[in-house]
Amino acid sequence: MKFRIMSLILCFVLAFSLLIPSVCYADYGSTIPANASGNRTDIITIKRPESLSASTSDKTYTISATGAQGTKIKIYKLDKSADIGRLASSVRSIGASGLYSCVVDLNNDSNTFIVYAQNDSGSQVVNITINKIKKSTIDRLKSLTVTIKSFLG
């Protein structure tokens, strides 16, 4: 009896130890919780948008990143009504160059994307916000910048 109990405990410990990494490195499928988080912050570096937030008048936006070879990246688009991220790009692994880029569609005025990166060391989640604004607004902002530069120069 004692041996059986010990075996059962051992099985639980074994099962639990196997479960830990799978929970930490949870691999999401076609959806991801809006509040998902990873256990690492150094798997990928988002190169564009640099500040994790950007404005554009374009129909699409190219997100770029760098990371180690073999890192798998998925991009989800946040569905605010369901509080869930839906897969916006197919899973792609970073190759030998260490470079990654992906074009995403911008359908709304405010678009939040959840970038999910995973490799052997763990997972990382980065939220990116892309605001879609009118071209005229961007042009006004650019001319304002030029005016300020001329004033300072």
Partner: protein, 472 residues
């Protein structure tokens, strides 16, 4: 009756005498090799030259163009990344846009004193707004570039000395990057920009066209190294989001040994271009089938694979009737000479410069110009040892002392093959040497055709040009 027959027979004989006599006299083999030659003088007179030009215009292939100052790529920036559009020289709109761009360029280059240095961000801002980006295949000396594009001689001291990347903004500014220092110079042309804007706006049709999205490397931040990033790209490299399809091409080797009659005719057309008289030179064939033509002052070899090689034993050939006034003229005359060889071989091949021409090279007494073929708007890498170029011309004291030309012509086939996207191509290229590479800086990644001497169909493939590589 008998007298009539005799007369007719006599007349026929007299006519035949004239016909056969003129045939014999006009045969070049009978012409004198030395001294005065009546027939050579007649064939070289301006009237004969005029009729020859008309004849060549009517019956021969259209004159070839050696693109000495044409960009290899034009990108129309619409202000939206989604609808950026890339044009190659094979695209119909390329020439129109190039002509328009030349107007702005020549206007800017004629007022060099108005160029001012501006921050690099201004250059990038122009590329993200409405503009035209011109990427040239090599770095040019600024004076030579102006000369080749038809501009007047200008003093470039104090501003850019070499150029390769140019941007013309929709508001009439011309931005030129000095490729030797990376400094950006800008000049306002005050020209009417309506035609330019019209072309740019016509391409602002969005992603519906199905074209891949084009980002520059600087757009995506791949031009700056950060943390463990080991691959850095030159900022102006266009990165296509998706792969695309490209046509295959077929190759013909004009002077190869396969067609003996055509080869002989072509060689007889080419010899006079090297100032070689077919009647006075010595001719023999080497063991490997190479034809050798020897004159007192030069040797011309034609290899079985179609390579033409001229080596002068004295001062070389003056490529123009008048003395060259500058090294710029001699470079332009080189292009004309390459064209004349292509025409003699009935080749409609298009070529572009493949080696940088810098001011220091032009100041040397002797310098070499290399050209490569472009087919279907893309460079062709010949299947030769040591990455030998299609054409190599050495000028010494503004005279041509050596010339090597691998004659080819290409035609686009209906067959298309898929080409993978940029980053996959880069991954594949780097993965071959990955274990040794610590850092790598990519200068250029473009689609080329690579020739294999055993095959007549050329498949497009990515070509990686590395600027710097650090190996463990």
């Amino acid at each position: 009756m008998k007298e009539h027959i005799k007369s007719i027979f006599l007349v026929v004989l007299v006519i035949l005498n004239f016909i056969l006599g003129s045939k014999v006299l006009s045969t070049e083999k009978l012409w004198s090799a030395n001294g005065y030659n009546f027939f050579v003088n007649v064939s070289n007179n301006p009237l004969s030259e005029f009729f020859r030009k008309i004849k060549s215009g009517l019956y021969e292939v259209s004159p070839v163009e050696t693109h000495l100052e044409a960009p290899e790529l034009i990108i129309i920036n619409t202000g939206y990344q989604t609808s950026r559009h890339a044009l190659l020289s094979s695209d119909k709109e390329f020439e129109t846009l190039l002509d328009l761009s030349r107007t702005f360029l020549n206007s800017a280059l004629s007022r060099t004193q108005q160029f001012i240095s501006v921050p690099k961000e201004d250059f990038y801002t122009a590329l993200t707004a409405k503009s035209i980006y011109l990427r040239y295949p090599v770095e040019y000396d600024a004076g030579l570039f102006t000369h080749l594009s038809g501009g007047s001689r200008t003093d470039f001291s104090g501003i850019f000395s070499q150029l390769q990347n140019i941007v013309i903004s929709s508001d009439g500014y011309v931005y030129i990057e000095d490729s030797s220092t990376g400094i950006i110079y800008s000049c306002y042309t005050s020209l009417d920009t309506s035609a330019l804007n019209e072309i740019i706006d016509s391409h602002n049709v969005g992603i519906e066209t199905g074209n891949p999205v084009i980002n520059y490397a600087f757009d995506l931040g791949f031009d700056k190294s950060f943390a463990t990033q080991k691959t850095v790209l030159s900022p102006m490299i266009p990165i296509y989001s998706e792969g695309f399809e490209v046509e295959t091409i077929s190759v013909a080797r004009q002077l190869s040994i396969t067609d003996e009659t055509y080869r002989e005719t072509t060689i007889s057309n080419i010899l006079p271009l090297f100032n070689m008289n077919p009647n006075s030179l010595r001719r023999y064939t080497e063991v490997d089938g190479t034809l050798v033509f020897v004159e007192n002052n030069a040797t011309l070899k034609v290899s079985p694979s179609g390579c033409l090689e001229y080596i002068a034993k004295d001062d070389g050939i003056m490529l123009s009737n008048s003395n060259f006034s500058s090294s710029y003229d001699s470079v332009a005359a080189c292009a004309d000479f390459v064209d004349s060889i292509n025409r003699a071989a009935k080749s409609d091949s298009v070529m572009q410069l493949s080696s940088n021409i810098t001011a220091s090279e032009l100041l040397d007494n002797s310098f070499t110009i290399t050209l490569d073929y472009i087919a279907n708007g893309r460079p062709v890498k010949l299947g030769l040892e040591n990455n030998e170029p299609a054409v190599s011309v050495t000028l010494t004291n503004n005279r041509m002392t050596s010339y090597k030309h691998n004659l080819r012509s290409f035609s686009v086939k209906d067959e298309i093959v898929p080409v993978e996207n940029y980053i996959f191509a880069l991954d594949n290229a780097i993965s071959q040497f990955q274990s040794q590479i610590t850092d790598i800086e990519i200068r250029e990644l473009n689609i080329i055709y690579e020739e294999k001497l055993t095959e007549n169909i050329l498949i497009p493939r990515w070509n990686v040009s590395v600027k710097e590589i650090i190996i463990d």
